[in-house]
């Protein structure tokens, strides 16, 4: 792999800051000067370009010494050098850096040559590399610099906010959890829309085992012309990860370390402890008034109890807290514990979340001789989560070795074992700790604190959320879970040069994954511990998964120029097989709580006891031709043929062609006089790619178990039914993608602009689509339905100031429009998720929300009363609605509200997303700021129905708005948006739970300082302070993060693990 040279943006700072590492000239830079006794002199002069124009703002440094200067507006400079033998280094954006020995002169006229960085910079493409200037598709790239100097836990994080068209989302803040990446929108509904990951040429299912510090570059193939070489797996883009190789020159050892602390990014605004009591009292007072209209509305508690007593059945005495409970709601009785020492206030969010430390240590050694290059590294990453007891540790090693055996043969070996340890209960989702921290009132029975609910404490009883509940802290901490993920990524490759420009490469890659997870939930933390014997409700579970994927691949490469004609050809064949075996064992009911280890004979119930296996295979042939004339007219074509075991016999093979062309206008003669315009390139591409991410063997009709009972002794008999429809025509999803790109550079690439428009049409969607129920099935896996994504991407990079104080910026904007254009039989809607709130409907984006449209709150004026006092609505209402209930929009105009008035109310897709990077350097200081955000789009907070919904009984906890902004009466109508907490119709799904998901976030601020070192053994050291998720502005009310779409096809939020604000202190040193 060629060493990626630096792009213009980074090239500038590169020569300054990283030259020692990458240029191979490091040893010279710090060579001690022996003739120290010579005296300082002043050198003046002018810097011009090749056309004789003067260049302002050229940076001038003295090699091996402090100090520097820059040219003025007329290109003139003056600099004091330590001695007559000094060497000056001239650097300027878009020009090749020039070293000029002073040689005793005091006047210098310097001519800088325009650099051809765009030509020498290299991007990684499928099965090869290409110079960036000649790329005709759409490829985004980041290099190690973006990764190294900022603490990141996972590779994907490095991409967030950095690239147009690549949306990175942290759905769960749980340590070690996967991060969602979408390249140019989702082009699949049922199939996974995750891009294909390829690490050093070997496809990989997941990047969690990859150590970010090992990465040299990440290239994202965005358009089909680039990705089509990956055929049936390229539809969702391809992420190519290249790890570091050794470079010639002095061997380099680098060590980096950081330590960090994290807190939750923000808390959710639920009622605090005192507000909850106020809320309850307000509701109970209203209950008193509504249920007992003949009584004094302001009756005291004593009067209410006395009144209830007067109506009580004989023998009933309302003398105790317990006896008052049944009449609580009827007579508006307060919990006698309120205002006494029997209860203690608690903030469940404070109890569940913590300040969590993490640390990371990396050591990397690399070097190369003519015959051998090596890069070996070790990394230890330990992260504790902001939820108690959650953590992720990653231990990784990597060895990349390349050897030139003789003049013709090169071989390489890559070994990268890693171990990932994840601990902590699953806290996301329904009824789990995070959502519980928002739905439990902030009171516990005195003395129990955060251990409430676990033996020996009971939870705050029926006056609150119920005695059998357990605190979220206990849920998170004492439900043990340990997940161990052992991964071994390895590959061997050999390249043989056959003739000039012709070589053959063979690659064998083997990826192993061994995953084990055990979990244990003891009886003493169950809410019903007091009615159980120890062990009775304990459960233990152990699952394993072993997966092997094996890749064998051979490619023939031809790369030659004939005069002005440059050719590159590729021919290849590859075969991939994947095999997995899994087991799942789970038991409940143990003799005691002493251990998670179980023996089947000792447990009372077997919950899980399965062994599973699966395998699939992919056979591929691929080829590509690239041609250019004088680097001016560029063409590329590729063709791949894939055969996959996942599809029906009749559609097992597919062809994936791609074509692209580019015109480097800046290389034309007529452009040589255009000074203000530098890089100018137009490109266009078309290609077809596929997506094969469905289960194995879904094309055949399988029998599914369905058991029944027969006989006097009610014995279970094994039964089988036909479980799914067969579909011998099942094939991959096919994406046709068009891309038009324009790259412009101004003022010698001081400002560069890249714009791309794309149109992706995915057809033959793999869809579990509704079929006629008369077939006996409700749905079938089929290739029906089309989705289109079209969008516009813009990347702008500028060098705002040069010289001593340098400031450069990068702005990227992504606009993507996603729309379903066709679905199965008769374009029938597909509804999924809680309450069927997620809908796939033609004309709307994937995973739209299907809800009643709440338009306000019904008022007394919306009703008449008939002679009997019964409410007669004047506006369309849901049957049974009263003043204070949510007012819905009558979508079908039939004068009433019912299930037919559900409508496509919104979706998670933003209007646009953007990222804005700013890098500043001043002398030894550097500062970078990353802003990032999205505008538009909604998030359905489906889980907040637990704490953000009128239930007409405030025993649980609710958002603050239910006390302060809700309708309580005509006199106290609230803000007109929040319905009455005592609403009648409360179980429908409406837009009251849908919130604007736009946000603006200061994603990262990083301040570094390069230590001015005197020591000879150390070439560079930088200390930095970095803060992630610094601040966020958003409108998302009932949850922790507008990115928390983790539920129901990753489109709605149900108490997702909050993101962390992380403050880190780090040191990197190179020896």
């Amino acid at each position: 792999m060629t060493i990626p040279a630096m792009c213009p943006l980074y090239g500038y700072s590169h020569n300054e800051r990283y030259g020692a590492e990458h240029s191979g000239r490091g040893s010279e830079w710090f060579k001690p000067h022996s003739d120290v006794l010579t005296r300082a002199i002043v050198v003046t002069g002018t810097v011009r370009d090749e056309n004789g124009e003067t260049l302002p703002g050229v940076s001038i440094k003295i090699k091996g010494a402090a100090g520097g200067a820059s040219t003025d507006v007329s290109g003139r400079f003056s600099i004091s050098v330590p001695d007559a033998n000094s060497t000056l280094i001239f650097t300027y954006v878009g020009y090749t850096a020039l070293e000029v020995p002073v040689g005793g002169r005091t006047s210098l006229n310097v001519v800088l040559k325009e650099s051809s960085t765009a030509l020498t910079e290299v991007v990684v493409i499928g099965y090869g590399t290409q110079s960036k200037g000649n790329v005709t598709g759409s490829i985004a790239k980041i290099t190690s610099e973006n990764i190294e100097e900022r603490p990141i836990a996972r590779v994907e994080q490095a991409l967030q906010g950095q690239m147009a068209g690549v949306a990175v989302r942290t759905t769960s803040g749980a340590p070690g959890s996967d991060i969602s990446i979408r390249v140019r929108g989702a082009s699949s509904i049922s199939g996974d829309a995750t891009p294909l990951y390829v690490v050093d040429g070997v496809p990989l299912d997941n990047l969690s085992g990859i150590n970010p510090a090992d990465i040299e570059s990440i290239d994202v193939l965005k358009d089909a012309a680039s990705a089509a070489i990956y055929g049936s797996r390229g539809s969702n883009g391809v992420v190519l990860v290249t790890t570091k190789r050794g470079k010639k020159g002095t061997p380099v050892i680098s060590a980096t370390a950081y330590t960090a602390v994290s807190n939750i990014e923000r808390k959710v605004d639920v009622l605090d402890s005192d507000q909850w009591i106020a809320f309850n009292q307000k509701w109970l007072d209203r209950q008193w008034q509504v249920n007992n209209p003949t009584q004094d509305p302001n009756a005291s508690q004593e009067q209410r109890i006395a009144y209830a007593q007067s109506l009580a059945p004989a023998g009933t005495v309302y003398g105790t807290r317990q006896s008052l409970l049944p009449i609580r709601a009827t007579y508006g009785i307060y919990d006698p514990y309120w205002g006494t020492d029997a209860l203690e206030p608690i903030d469940w969010q404070d109890e569940l979340f913590r300040t969590a430390p993490s640390r990371d240590i990396q050591v990397n050694a690399s070097g190369a001789t003519d015959a051998v290059s090596y890069a070996i590294s070790a990394g230890v990453f330990q992260q504790e989560g902001v939820v108690h007891a959650s953590s992720f540790d990653r231990y990784s090693l990597r060895a990349n070795l390349d050897a030139r055996i003789n003049k013709f043969i090169r071989v390489g070996l890559m070994l990268a074992p890693s171990l990932g340890l994840r601990e902590g209960a699953n806290v996301d989702g329904k009824d789990n700790a995070v959502s519980r921290s928002l739905s439990f009132p902030g009171w516990t029975l005195a003395g129990s604190g955060r251990m409430a609910g676990a033996d020996p404490y009971k939870f705050y009883g029926e006056w609150g959320s119920g005695a059998n509940n357990v605190s979220p802290y206990v849920q998170a901490v004492y439900n043990e879970r340990l997940n161990r993920d052992v991964r071994m990524n390895s590959s061997f490759n050999a390249t043989i040069d056959i003739a000039k420009g012709l070589n053959v490469n063979a690659l064998v890659g083997w990826n192993y994954r061994g995953n084990r997870e055990r979990s244990y939930s003891p009886t003493w933390i169950q809410g019903t511990w007091d009615t159980s014997v120890p062990g009775e409700r304990s459960s233990s579970r152990y699952t394993t998964l072993q997966g092997h994927s094996l890749l064998t691949q051979a490619t023939l490469n031809y790369d030659r120029s004939f005069g002005d004609h440059n050719f590159n050809g590729l021919l290849g064949i590859s075969q991939e097989t994947y095999k997995e075996e899994n087991t799942d064992q789970g038991l409940t009911g143990f003799p005691n709580d002493k251990t998670w280890v179980f023996n089947r004979d000792r447990a009372t119930t077997t919950n899980f006891n399965t062994i599973g296996a699966a395998e699939n295979a992919l056979l591929s042939y691929f080829s590509r031709v690239q041609y250019n004339y004088k680097n001016k007219y560029l063409f590329s074509a590729s063709l791949r043929s894939d055969g996959s075991s996942k599809f029906g016999e009749r559609n097992r093979w597919g062809l994936f062609p791609a074509l692209s062309a580019g015109w480097r206008i800046d290389q034309e003669d007529f452009m040589s006089r255009t000074d203000w315009l530098s890089t100018t390139k137009l490109s266009a591409s078309w290609g077809q790619t596929g997506n094969d991410r469905i289960g194995n063997s879904t094309f055949v009709s399988n029998m599914a178990a369905l058991n029944y009972v027969f006989g006097d002794n009610q014995a279970i008999s094994n039964g089988y039914v036909v479980g799914n429809i067969s579909n011998s025509l099942l094939r991959w999803e096919k994406t046709d993608s068009y891309n038009v790109g324009l790259d412009l550079g101004f003022l010698r690439d001081r400002f560069t602009l890249s714009a791309a428009y794309y149109y992706k049409k995915t057809s033959d969607l793999l869809l579990s689509a509704p079929v006629s129920l008369t077939t006996g099935f409700s749905s079938m896996m089929d290739n029906i339905g089309n989705v289109e994504n079209k969008g516009f991407e813009l990347e702008l990079r500028t060098f705002n100031t040069v010289g001593t104080f340098k400031w450069n910026s990068g702005l990227n904007v992504t606009i993507n429009r996603n729309k379903i254009t066709k679905l199965g039989s008769g374009d029938a809607d597909i509804r999924i998720g809680q309450g069927g709130t997620i809908i796939q409907r033609v004309g709307h984006p994937i995973n739209s929300y299907y809800l009643l449209d709440a338009v306000g709150v019904l008022r007394e004026a919306d009703f008449d009363r008939d002679a009997g006092g019964t409410l007669v609505p004047k506006v369309p209402v849901w049957s049974g609605q009263r003043p204070g209930d949510t007012k819905y929009r009558d979508i079908n105009g039939d004068g009433r509200i019912n299930a037919s008035d559900y409508t496509v109310a919104g979706n998670y897709q933003p209007d646009f997303e953007w990222g804005f990077t700013n890098n500043f350097t001043y002398k030894n200081f550097d500062l970078s700021i990353l802003l990032q955000g999205r505008v538009g789009g909604d998030l359905l907070s489906i889980g907040s129905r637990g704490w953000n919904r009128p239930t007409n009984d405030p025993k649980w906890l609710y958002m603050e708005q239910w006390l302060t902004k809700a309708y309580w009466s005509e006199e106290e109508p609230g803000n007109g948006k929040v319905p009455a907490f005592f609403s009648a119709v409360t179980s429908e799904y409406d837009t009251n739970w849908m919130y604007d998901a736009g946000y603006l976030r200061i994603k990262n601020i990083n301040i570094g300082y390069n230590l001015p070192l005197k020591a000879k053994f150390i070439s560079r050291a930088r200390v930095y302070v970095s803060c992630d998720n610094v601040y966020m502005w958003d409108n998302y009310y009932p949850g922790f993060s507008p990115e928390g779409a983790s539920q129901d096809n990753a489109s709605s939020d149900w108490g997702a693990y909050p993101q962390a604000r992380t403050l880190s202190l780090g040191l990197t040193a190179t020896f």
């Binding site: 053959v504 029998m703 006989g711 014995a715 089988y720 036909v722 039989s825 049957s879």
Partner: protein, 493 residues
């Protein structure tokens, strides 16, 4: 090395059969597999991989819940399908309705698959059972949805969506043919380890019921009464052997499969339990509302539906012993005599296993009680009804009296009238989902007026609609109409 690599790329490597599953084409190859297939067909009436069994969805929510036996106490809460069915507001989008429709067709599909993939002459008993089950499914589809597509072989979606709503007479002909095949190819009853399986008596009893339904609204095929009489006359002696003279002993675990002709079978603890008792009254979110009857962690699912107070009073006045065997009029809310209070509610507890020590029953959908589809009383009352219509009330008298005596009532003073039979049916089958279909069978006008007066009495405050002709059928599921354009929705939905 290159050539070695290329050689290793064998195209066969992508031919991979599923490891985990039996494929449908490779199934039905031997006696065990045929038996497993028929077991799966029966299991469609059980939980079917969902939370509710067929009896709960169909006979309780979509039938008893729409009749004049149960009323709804409160306005709204989470189970909207149940509320909307009760208030005649049900929409074609209802999950319960499409669940019933889809489940019956799943059963038909599995029966068709077995019949198609086994040969005529082999596994005759299983084929007979499959044809019974298919007939049963089509009969319920006709009763509840009106004409539907008739499918008797495995079918692909593109063919299925082309099928029209078949004429009811054609579907009935298929039902009758299936049931006659079952009746001649099965033993009368199966017992012991095979108890719960279809016998020929069950096939004939269902055939009689099919004729009785054809004779009534909406087909009004008068000739069917005579056919029903003939069929019932042929099995009446066998039905007598299953008659238990004590009504209160019918619905207990130890008598299951002894006093019935065909029941859906349930057992608790292994995902094959009945969900019906979970729907007998309103529930708190956790814990047991009837601690005297159910284990501590038991919880409920349904709405606060209660039995018509007038019905309870009538039965009390008559001294009808079926009242207390079917209904409880209240319960203690605690097991502690010192603190408990009596909750007065008329609720159907016929299928509730009252045993608070039974730790296997932890969930609302996990009861061991079978649900009867056909029991001797069905045969007696249908037979009597056919006899009365056919002018043979004198013969009918013994069968009506047999049930009256068991209920602790005096024998009829005269030959039974249709009115007598209608009354007995109402009291005999409380909670068993017969009433709504009886009302429909007896005529549109009578059904609507009976249901209307009930709705006016109980549901004027809960924003329900009054029933109309449309409510005698369920709507065709909207999801079904979405997949095709050749069916009309049932009128007025």
């Amino acid at each position: 090395m290159m050539s070695a690599l290329l050689l290793s790329c064998n195209k066969d490597i992508i031919d991979i059969d599923p490891i985990e599953n039996n494929t449908a084409n490779a199934f039905y190859q031997n006696e065990i597999e045929a038996r497993q297939a028929i077991t799966g067909i029966y299991a469609r009436l059980g939980r079917n991989g969902t939370n509710t069994d067929f009896a709960t969805d169909y006979y309780w929510l979509a039938s008893e819940n729409r009749s004049d036996l149960l009323y709804l106490v409160e306005g709204t809460s989470a189970q909207n399908d149940q509320l909307e069915l009760r208030k005649y507001l049900i929409s074609p989008n209802s999950g319960t309705v499409s669940g019933i429709f889809g489940r019956l067709y799943s059963l038909i599909k599995d029966a068709n698959s077995l019949l198609f993939r086994t040969k005529e002459g082999e596994y005759t008993r299983y084929r007979a059972e499959a044809r019974f089950m298919r007939a049963f499914a089509y009969f319920e589809l006709l009763r509840s949805f009106g004409p539907v597509a008739l499918i008797t072989e495995p079918i692909e979606n593109r063919d299925a969506v082309a099928l029209p709503r078949e004429e009811p007479q054609v579907i009935y002909a298929q039902i009758i043919s299936d049931l006659e095949f079952a009746a001649v190819n099965l033993n009368k009853f199966y017992t012991g380890a095979e108890a719960g399986r279809i016998g020929s008596v069950a096939a004939n009893a269902l055939l009689g019921q099919v004729y009785m339904t054809m004779a009534g609204y909406p087909l009004n095929d008068g000739s069917a009464y005579a056919k029903a009489e003939t069929v019932y006359a042929g099995i009446i002696a066998d039905v007598d052997t299953r008659f238990n003279p004590d009504y209160s002993k019918l619905f207990i675990l130890e008598n299951e499969n002894k006093n019935d002709i065909f029941s859906i079978q349930f057992a608790s603890g292994t995902n094959v339990g009945s969900s019906l008792p979970g729907f007998i009254t309103s529930s708190p979110s956790s814990g047991s509302p009837f601690p005297e009857w159910t284990y501590a962690t038991y919880n409920l699912q349904g709405q606060d539906v209660r039995v018509d107070t007038m019905l309870v009073n009538q039965m009390k006045t008559r001294g009808d012993k079926r009242l207390m065997a079917s209904i409880d009029t209240g319960y203690w809310n605690s097991t502690n005599p010192a603190t408990r209070t009596w909750v007065t509610r008329n609720i159907v507890t016929k299928f509730l296993e009252k045993d608070n020590t039974n730790t296997r029953i932890k969930a609302w959908n996990d009861f061991p009680r079978n649900f009867p589809i056909i029991r001797p009383a069905d045969v007696y009352l249908y037979y009597a009804e056919a006899l009365v219509v056919n002018g043979k009330a004198a013969i009918a008298r013994q069968y009506v009296d047999k049930l009256r005596l068991r209920a602790g009532l005096a024998p009829l003073a005269a030959f039974p009238t249709l009115e007598n039979i209608k009354q007995e049916r109402k009291y005999e089958f409380i909670g068993e989902g017969r009433r709504f279909f009886d009302l429909v069978r007896w005529g549109q006008a009578e059904a609507i007026s009976t249901l209307t007066s009930f709705a006016q009495h109980y549901h004027s405050q809960t924003n329900g609609q009054l029933p109309s002709a449309k409510d005698l059928l369920l709507p065709i599921p909207q999801s079904e109409l979405n997949t095709r354009n050749n069916w009309n929705q049932n009128p007025d939905y």
